[in-house]
Symmetry: C2
Subunit: 332 residues, 2 copies
Amino acid sequence: MRRGSLHGETDLNSVTFSSPVLEEIKLVEDRMRMQADESHSDLRAALEHLLAAGGKRVRPTLCMLVGNMLGAPLDKLVSLGAAVELLHTATLVHDDLIDGALLRRGLPTLNARWSPPATVLTGDFLFARAAKLAAETDHLPLMKLFSETLAIIVNGELTQMFTSRGLISRDNYYNRIYAKTASLFEMTARAASMVSPVDDEITESMRDFGYQIGMAFQIADDILDFNGEQSAVGKPLGSDLHNGLITLPAIYYAESNPGDPDILSLPSGGWTHTENMTRLVEKIRASRASQQAMREAEQHVDRALAILDSFDNCAERHALESLAKYIVDRKM
Amino acid sequence: MRRGSLHGETDLNSVTFSSPVLEEIKLVEDRMRMQADESHSDLRAALEHLLAAGGKRVRPTLCMLVGNMLGAPLDKLVSLGAAVELLHTATLVHDDLIDGALLRRGLPTLNARWSPPATVLTGDFLFARAAKLAAETDHLPLMKLFSETLAIIVNGELTQMFTSRGLISRDNYYNRIYAKTASLFEMTARAASMVSPVDDEITESMRDFGYQIGMAFQIADDILDFNGEQSAVGKPLGSDLHNGLITLPAIYYAESNPGDPDILSLPSGGWTHTENMTRLVEKIRASRASQQAMREAEQHVDRALAILDSFDNCAERHALESLAKYIVDRKM
């Protein structure tokens, strides 16, 4: 279902969208690595480990592409890109600790090797360095936006923690994925525009672009949890549902099958893996629910692409288009 | 030993040093309370709980007194004072979690009532709000200083975590108490001066003032751990030593009694409460070590008082003098 999507491109990969900024992404990584230079050697090693576990640097790439397209100075973009990626990394470090996750992207998480206290503090250290990098853009509204976004992310996680497991609610879902993912994409594109010589209207367009691809990114992630190749996703299929987290495919399934006894029997209190849930995951996989969810992700991507239409034809715009499409075409 | 100190005042209390800024401290507390207004109700309750557990607001008081003395605008001081106190609170929340502490200032810690995940996230939320408040001073160098200070605090905690238990080293001790306590006092006084209409020389004096009282504060704290009234301190006497943390009284004792078998037998690896340690705590209590340590704290206070001599005689200067003296005269 995820192949041959609306956008007709099946071979998108990270090279397509990051090629105009490969050099700049190296600068961002160097800048991130520098943040532990004067710190304890174990902390330096932890940062190296986290950087090596890297991923595709989607957020710094977004930052660089938007900023380059709009004429932002390189030094500010490098600071911002490093700040965003470190903030993202810090939230992952605390998330993995909270979830007790032992692997991320196929590599051991920090908490799989460190004690919980060291993991808490490493996350705190990364927050501190992210804030310092954000301050190095010398742009106060950006600093405020940055701290506001961190508060949104954390408040979202707390709200999720206090929400009943098994809640089937679109509102709850959209709020959650905005806080968890879209808010940082939104901030990244908006901030890259804020340090560029452009007017507020452009910044608002870029904010919306970031928002749209961020929402698409998380919906696609939630679909992969049901339909991905298990080896690529790195966790059991349907793990969100097994953890009591109702994502968009499950919502579509529940809307189409309101009387399904496995839906009706979802516990709202104590949550345990049950045979019912394993069966429900299979039914969702066999249904059109993921396809319907993917249509929503694609709608977000279409809105993002429409925003780009008003910008000049340039390498960065094309790369941003590739990035938007990649988000719904990726396999992990 | 702590009564009738060098400064000859035994009845100092918080009223003396905070009286010129009681109204402003209320504004700071309101500002802190507002930070969870749009957040999940459990988070609001957690912040209320933390504010109620309050303490003497020494750091916001320092901020207000320095800023008022130097003519800083009230709005910036309120933002800064709230930022500093929330940052301090955030580090306490994570510390208590890491230490597994169940009480602080006689009230249950957050982690005594919440799950560890909720506690991690609440600390993160407070960091985010502290950063936002710091940004609201609209002062970029202050923002950078703020994030730099957070990094110093966290790096200090990590270094402590990775340092062998039982290490008897003055260098290690001074670095540790700077990172843990003095860095935030230093930053507070410096930042309050930075938002005031004064030149760099004054700011440097105020930075040094904050540094001196911060060092004195932590040394006094470490003495209280041995010599305080247990009910006021809220934990067993000598708890630092029982946890493998060698503070200044123990260092003085070890220097005077290098052959004491209980000193020689301090383990450097795995650390467990032993009878030897209980005996060692008693020997340190009975020795002159705490008195010697108090002399060091008083030297810092004297340096702080000397710095104030060059400032005009005003209510704030007198209150800062009281604050400096209170730090070595307090009972908890």
